[in-house]
């Protein structure tokens, strides 16, 4: 009977084209507004590494203490005033302790790449200095080759992993494993070429959380980068630092981070304990003059803590869904009017053998069909809304403002379900009509 009811719905739409148009417009505008904000919200709140986000953790430690930052309170960026990065001292100490099965310290940098083809000009590429575990821990796929090894980390081997895009640029997409890339004037041997990989949001580098243009193109051993004095992109210091590379490494400036993989609850507890003990040891040694303050957060907790989804966006989603409710309320009123105007037909159908449930089903299918049409119009409005958002925020927001298959499915589901829900009362009213009364008064 579903197909029959669906065809009846289409006939009903054709018969009341203006009323139907008004209902579809009301639903479409509501869906458009809510889906625009929801799409942005979903992109922001997406799990960047599904299946592993609960096992990947980043540690924090309070090396600043209860200092008065004056107007520079944004330096912390967090509610609990814990620094969001680590000092080199702490990162190296965590790596040496090897308290997790997999661990990688890292920092963002830039390298000057000199192509072998002399016709190409040198260019700067975003790079990441890290450890071999980075690739296994974050499930990085490889097109050619493999990551360097832990022995290479220890040996400070001049090796490099490059992205597919850089490989296309430097080697025309060929298998470049074993070939040499000149960076900052030094030769590096390519050991691996990454396949497409772009977790969104980029949880380990929230300064470029959604910016596709800011993605790292080169990965090199952390130990080698330190040895070659390759500077970090970001540096946050409370006090002035003495001159020279060694002074920076020994300073309390924060510019590195560490990610660890902790597969079990017991390993998480053990790592927390290690962090606390480490903090206590630092206080006992006289480095910290305040109570130990450490934290360990997994990917989801880290994204929430860093407020990747801002409160404004969350509020906007709520407001837009309230707007959708208003639109649906309008559609409900129009549906009620439409169904009530058709009570004569309903009575005839009842006289011909339709039971109340059949009438209810017919009206609900009609509501659902209306929702489906509303979804199509709503998707148009959503694309318009996302286009406006891209115009406002620029191309760097492309990840946030693009509509994928999941978003389209959500839009259709939300539209159909909410319209059917709104149509339940009018449908119920129609199904409860007393056919005898209607037929007597005709």
């Amino acid at each position: 009977m579903f197909g029959y009811y669906f065809r009846l719905s289409l006939r009903s739409f054709r018969r009341n084209i203006i009323l139907t148009g008004l209902m579809v417009l009301a639903i479409g505008v509501g869906i458009g507004a809510s889906m625009t904000t929801l799409t942005i919200y979903r992109a922001m709140a997406a799990d960047p590494i599904p299946g592993k986000s609960a096992r990947l953790f980043t540690p924090q430690i309070d090396n600043y203490g209860p200092v008065n930052l004056g107007s520079d309170t944004k330096a912390f960026q967090t509610a609990d005033r814990l620094p969001v990065s680590l000092t080199y001292i702490d990162a190296v100490a965590f790596m040496r302790a090897h308290a997790a099965p997999r661990q990688a310290a890292m920092y963002a940098t830039n390298v000057a790449v000199t192509p072998a083809d002399t016709k190409q000009l040198p260019f700067r590429a975003p790079a990441r200095a890290t450890y071999a575990d980075f690739f296994a821990m974050f499930d990085v796929p490889f097109e050619y080759g493999a990551p360097w090894s832990a022995q290479d980390d220890a040996a400070r081997a001049p090796l490099v992993v490059i992205t597919r895009q850089l490989n296309d640029r430097l080697f025309g997409g060929a298998n470049s494993v074993g070939r040499t890339v000149t960076m900052n004037g030094d030769p590096y041997r390519v050991v691996g070429v990454m396949d497409s990989w772009n977790p969104e949001p980029r949880f380990y580098d929230l300064n470029n959380a959604f910016d596709a243009g800011g993605a790292d193109e080169v990965y090199l051993p952390f130990t080698l980068a330190i040895a070659r004095q390759i500077q970090s992109n970001g540096l946050s210091c409370l006090k002035s630092v003495g001159s020279g590379w060694q002074a920076l490494l020994a300073s309390e400036c924060i510019w590195t981070s560490v990610w660890v993989e902790l597969p079990t609850a017991a390993s998480v507890r053990a790592y927390r304990s290690f962090l606390t003990n480490y903090g206590n040891a630092q206080r006992d040694s006289g480095r910290f003059h305040w109570p130990t303050h450490v934290a360990l957060r997994n990917v989801r907790q880290w994204l929430a803590y860093r407020q990747v989804v801002s409160q404004d966006v969350s509020t906007l989603v709520l407001v837009s869904f309230a707007f959708l409710a208003v639109c649906l309320l309008n559609a409900l009123g129009l549906m009620l009017a439409k169904f009530m105007a058709r009570l004569g037909q309903v009575s005839v159908r009842r006289a011909l053998g339709a039971n109340q449930r059949a009438i209810l089903a017919q009206c609900v299918v009609e509501s659902g069909t209306l929702g489906l049409t509303g979804a199509a119009v709503g998707l148009g409005f959503t694309l318009l809304g996302l286009g406006l958002a891209r115009g406002l925020f620029g191309d760097s927001s492309a990840v946030l403002t693009s509509l994928n298959g999941g978003d389209v499915a959500i839009a259709i589901a939300v539209s159909v379900c909410t319209t059917m829900l709104a149509g339940l009362y009018p449908s119920w009213r129609a199904s409860r009509v007393q056919p005898a009364w209607q037929l007597k008064t005709q």
Binding site: M1, Y4, L8, R11, S12, R14, R15, G344, Q345, V348, R349, R350, A351, L352, G353, A354, N355, Q356, R357, A358, Q434, P435, A436, L439, K440, Q442
Partner: protein
């Protein structure tokens, strides 16, 4: 086929109680053509809607084709209505969005018949009422007589045991009314059980039996059919309670 015993129907509001049918007892046998007459407000249509299971009664008994209809739920009543009863209304009540074919298809849809079976039944009934050439026409594209023929086809397509007609010629001119009446008579000759509500004494006289309702009660039953042209006009006037 249809038996009502001491049936009553009371409409109640906060301040008013209206007895539409009182101690109503009637029996319609299989194959009968019964005309139900009576003045406006006498309870004719209430009788018809109760007979058609569109309305529940307050007390008494109603047996339809051997089934006690008391206590049936909506689904059971709808199924019984769909399988055993065909309705013909004064204002045709064709669904304007649907063409003739689809209008006739409606009761078969609710019976859950397969497409081929529905097509066969619809073709048969269209031939029977002489509307085979109007299959794709919409109600608004047909005359009143054709619309009523389509409505009768819709009532008959499911091969009901009982045809209930409420003023089937009330909205038709004389010529069209004659055509529709002849069709009903032909159906009766073919074995159909018909109960027809009418104001028209001439049409009532063409039925096999007449039941006259006054103030919700049956006041007179004529056992013998009175054929127009053969019975006395004065007798008909008496039967319908009108002065000469």
């Amino acid at each position: 086929m249809l038996t009502m015993k001491n049936l009553s129907k009371v409409y109640r509001t906060d301040v008013l109680e209206t007895h539409a049918l009182r101690e109503f007892t009637v029996e319609v046998r299989e194959g009968e053509f019964v005309a139900v007459t009576g003045p406006s407000g006498s309870g004719k249509t209430t009788f018809l809607t109760i007979a058609g299971l569109l309305e529940e009664f307050t007390s008494g008994e109603y047996w339809l084709d051997g089934v006690d209809t008391r206590g049936l739920n909506d689904r059971q009543r709808s199924r019984l209505r769909n399988e055993k009863i065909g309705f013909v209304f004064q204002s045709f009540n064709l669904i304007p969005d649907l063409n003739v074919y689809d209008n006739i298809d409606v009761p078969l849809r609710y019976r859950g018949l397969r497409g081929a079976e529905r097509r066969r039944l619809i073709q048969e009934v269209l031939q029977r009422v002489g509307l085979s050439s109007r299959v794709r026409h919409y109600p608004s594209e047909m005359s009143g007589g054709q619309q009523q023929r389509a409505a009768i086809a819709r009532a008959l397509v499911g091969r009901p045991r009982l045809l209930l007609a409420d003023e089937p010629t009330g909205n038709l001119d004389t010529q069209m009314a004659r055509g529709v009446m002849e069709l009903l008579e032909e159906l009766h000759r073919g074995g159909a059980t018909i109960v027809m509500v009418t104001h028209d004494p001439e049409l009532a006289a063409r039925a096999q039996r007449q039941v006259h309702i006054m103030d919700g009660r049956i006041v007179e039953l004529e056992a013998e059919p009175v054929l127009v042209g053969q019975g006395s006009v004065e007798g008909l006037r008496r039967a319908f309670g009108r002065s000469a």
